[in-house]
Amino acid sequence: MQQHQTHAELAEQFNRDINRVNWHDQTLWMVREKRDKAAQQVPDWEQLRETASQIKNHTLAHLHAYLLEFEQQALANGIQVHWAADAEEHNRIVHRIIQEHGVDRIVKSKSMLTEECGLNEYLLQQGIEVVDTDLGERIVQLAGEPPSHIVLPCIHWKKEEIGELFHQHLGTPKGNADPDFLTRAARAHLREHFMMRRVAITGVNFAVAETGEFVVCTNEGNADLGAQLADVHIACMGIEKIIPKRNHLGVFLRLLARSATGQPITTYSSHFKKPGPGKALHIVLVDNGRSTRLGSDDFRNALKCIRCGACFNTCPVYRRSGGHSYHTAIAGPIGSILAPALDMEKHADLPFASTLCGSCTNVCPVKIDIHQQLYTWRQVLIKNGHASSTKKAGIQLTGMVLSKPWLFRVSGKVARWIMRTFPGLMNNRFNPWTKQRELPMPPKQSFRDWYVNNRSHD
């Protein structure tokens, strides 16, 4: 059995505060609209998506070769390269590097990979303090929460609540919720940490095989500040972040920020190629289930993901259930197809947290067939026994009735008669349909009955 609450349960709790749901939905819909506007300004947008998708497909088909090319070039540039088979090995490698430099406090810019690996918790257990330097991430870190969105980590927080949080943790005046003021307070607070830290961790958006360099995209410049001020820079990346050539950035950088926030490009697209004089640059390449996925025809193409978050913003379910209802580091539609591969038991509910509307697939800048994979995951989960016995029995019965025309007709007739005669039997608060909705009024005659009486038939 699942140890935590399901998406449906957590979403139901989220929906008890109707004003918050409306606000959350409208805020993220605004981001979707900005994305639409930005996309509409690029006449060859669909061609750009197709090109990005094909570059990623090609890269995945030759991933082995490109990873080795990247390693060779990075080593030649003076970068120290580490390989981690899973989250645990990744965390141990990062910890060892930190230990070698005799440090117990570090700064980290946003990296969904380190969230996936649970790096913060691991390092904390080893007595190392991590300060997240992305503003949104710092806010959720102060609040003791995981991010609720991969690009907008604290999108579920209202500015008044952030004002209160800063009042408690940073000593800002009570009641001040002016975004400019709060940003300045956070900046002053983070600058202290930047100045004091000798080790900085960043994520990686793109790693270029041809040159051995990598690119980190931020709007706040926090990755640069962290990496440039520290003696040691550790960059953590999933092995799917490789692109073959530097000029491919011309495709991906045009897509990433437009899809994410509707900006033409992130404020900073920082290239890191070699360590500065007297400094060290490490890169940790993490598999953590990726090569298993690479071997799956059904699910391989989820590895194309560039973590833009467009599928979150467009998802009508995500907007009305909040990121935390997905109980995983990467929420939303993409998270719902990534998470079951890591732990099927724990995340068996996520592929069902969708109406299969398909909007996610349409906004995806690298054309991942997200809603098709949600459908396929459902089949895999059921075949592996992840269905409640009542659901299973119900569906089996439905399947049997619908495969026998006479049984379908008789049951339909009986069911409609019962619904007409004893409406209270089905229309009650224990029936999830009628909790907030009415049932259709069942007619005496089915369409087939009418047809038999009104048309000649063979």
Partner: protein, 245 residues
């Protein structure tokens, strides 16, 4: 041209008037239409719940009923899409492949196959069009708001042929209503909220009726409207197109 009329199971049981309107509308175009009497369901309720392996008998029954027709026409984008994408027969897959190519949703059949240019129908009301997701993003009945591509809409093209009908514009032109099959029951809270938000969009923009090419979405919205004692109603697009001039 012999057309097999495919009436989804829930329309047969709960909305016979939609089946009748579809049949009459096709007959008015001078088409030969038959309703095979032993049909049941496309199998989607099982498949979307993860039980596609339990749909083999449904698929076989569907193929048995419909293999003799030139075209199969269905007043539901979702059910038509399911047949197009998921009907198989392990004994004679070529029959399934042929069926998948011949199935059409009603509005696309009218605009693309018989290329309907005029109608004698009258519906003097303000109408909001709900673009159901499977018809929209699966069958491409209209351009999707996410894509940078020329606009078109097959249901709108038909509604414009109806006398007196005023089509209202929505704030969110193609957001999902939250029905989603068993999603409506297993994710009740989000499903209801999504439906309420769609309802509010239509209401705010002055619709008297919400129409669409999928009665399942409309059944969900109707359930919410009735609970709300709303004056707004739902009506299947076939009923509007078949209304008397």
């Amino acid at each position: 041209m012999h057309i097999g009329l495919f009436i989804p199971c829930y329309i047969d049981q709960f909305y016979p008037q939609v089946g009748i309107a579809t049949l009459e509308l096709l007959e008015k175009q001078g088409l030969r239409v038959s309703y095979p009497l032993e049909q049941t369901c496309c199998g989607q309720p099982m498949a979307n719940s993860g039980f596609e392996h339990l749909t083999a008998d449904c698929s076989k029954n569907f193929i048995r009923n419909f293999e003799r027709f030139d075209y199969i026409v269905c007043p539901s984008g979702s059910c038509a899409l399911h047949i197009k994408e998921h009907v198989h027969d392990d004994q004679s897959e070529e029959k399934a492949v042929s069926i998948r190519k011949r199935v059409y949703e009603l509005t696309e059949f009218l605009t693309d196959v018989i290329q309907l240019k005029s109608l004698s129908a009258k519906f003097p009301h303000r109408v909001g069009l709900h673009q159901s997701c499977h018809g929209l993003r699966g069958l491409h009945l209209a351009q999707m708001s996410e894509l940078v591509a020329p606009k078109y809409s097959k249901p709108e093209q038909l509604l414009k042929l109806v006398d007196g009908l005023e089509l209202i514009q929505l704030d969110r032109q193609d957001e999902c209503c939250g029905f989603g099959g068993t999603f409506s029951v297993f994710e009740e809270a989000v499903s209801v909220k999504m439906g309420q938000d769609r309802m509010a969009d239509h209401l705010k923009n002055g619709a008297e009726y919400i129409t669409g090419a999928d009665m399942s979405c409309l059944m969900h919205l109707e359930g919410l409207l009735k609970r709300d004692n709303s004056s707004m109603n739902v009506i299947h697009i076939a009923e509007i197109l078949n209304s008397k001039a």
